[in-house]
Symmetry: C3
Subunit: 183 residues, 3 copies
């Protein structure tokens, strides 16, 4: 039987999904492609300032590299002294909450939305991601929609996280699993 | 025994491999780095137009983000209403044929060529990739040279596809394997 | 017990870690974002020249694409006739030594430093990476800090290398393991 799975001409974003008007979204896109991404590496306060201008809650001493991409800053919360590395992406279609003293290493991707693939209309579904204090996501880690990583846990380079991770563990692989305590 | 595996000074592209002159390749490169990649996100028709100018066959209602990279547009075919997400790459050294209502999510990489590693001359070999209608490649999926993904199949985020995938399945992992029917 | 794992306000780079003054680092960053990354693809000699100006040891006939990123060129050595593909990154916080006739394919990431996660000060630790002659790292391969890949070995696309690899083998997976001899 030749059935249908997804009909993308029937897709539309839920009303108010972006959380801001199309104009603000466009303004942020322009800001990110210029003042943000072209700023010298050491101007960390400048980039935190730009994100705050667009509604992000960013603590003190936060280190965000110029090549980081944030989709909607108004859905982003970061505590104090956290780092976000080169070419990391915070895909904040849903909310992303990052604690204090967190390291999100280079190329990591936090994906806070998915699609309902059981519907032909392929509806967008946002799912909040929470990264607690003192977590280290090493290089090129993927965090799936809806995931929580608890305090102090280390996720090894290139791992993909499809299940919540407990506190104080070292976790690796795809799907990432705890392998030993972090001491 | 100290043997040789690859001698790259002996490498050369097969005559006519690119499918267009070096001048056209260079013009496309220039177009992609400027008019294409710097265009505002909502100008989807503009980017489809640019790709068509360089020989791509692109259907109606196709959504291609500015950060998408296409190596040789003249080796690309896309049906109607398909999406290609941010930082996805269509490495069309060989042909890539994408159906209608297909979603290629962000960071996915479709690699339509490889090298013959059994020869010191490291010959380039192109292998066509086919993605049938209503397939969803989720975030950061890798498609190896020569692969076909059949109608309606969903490939989970971060999966790597080294074997052809059947229709109407959910497939995950590396190498990606069918785990259940898509319903 | 609520213990501490990492306190990033206590972090500092070891004295002299970068190997050059902050000014030179900044100059390289500026050079890479402009003259290097915006140069046309075929100007391979120009990019090798720029890297050598900043202390890299680069052999003859080396092919480095404009989208390649090198953190500190003065910690990079490349032999003759080697290739580094699009969007590959040589994260030379520690030394990276690449032999002759080596292929580093597109999107590969060589990560020559890590952090001591057992210390709250999260100390930076550099670890030299060595890629011997005639190795092929295929697309999107990750090389962990401290790794050596021996002569002629092929690492399959999307693999992650966390252990040293022997000579003349085909290795795949995560962690990458030898599966057969390269003939």
């Amino acid at each position: 039987m030749d059935r249908d799975y997804q009909k993308l001409d029937q897709f539309s974003l839920p009303k108010g999904f972006r959380g801001r008007s199309a104009l603000v979204v466009q303004l942020w896109w322009l800001t990110q492609s210029t003042f943000f991404s072209m700023s010298p590496q050491f101007t960390y306060k400048w980039r935190s300032f730009l994100l705050r201008c667009f509604g992000a809650k960013i603590g003190k001493g936060v280190i965000i590299r110029p090549s980081v991409r944030v989709t909607y800053p108004w859905k982003l919360t970061i505590g104090d002294f956290s780092w976000v590395g080169d070419n990391a992406e915070l895909y904040t279609l849903g909310e992303i909450e990052i604690g204090s003293n967190v390291v999100i290493s280079q190329k990591s991707y936090l994906c806070a939305a998915t699609h309902d693939y059981t519907k032909e209309t392929f509806d967008m579904v946002d799912k909040k991601i929470t990264i607690e204090d003192e977590v280290w996501l090493a290089a090129d880690v993927y965090i799936a929609p809806g995931i929580t990583v608890k305090k102090g846990t280390l996720v090894g380079a290139r791992s993909s996280v499809f299940n919540d991770l407990p506190a104080g563990m070292i976790c690796v692989g795809s799907p990432a699993k705890p392998v030993k305590a972090r001491v």
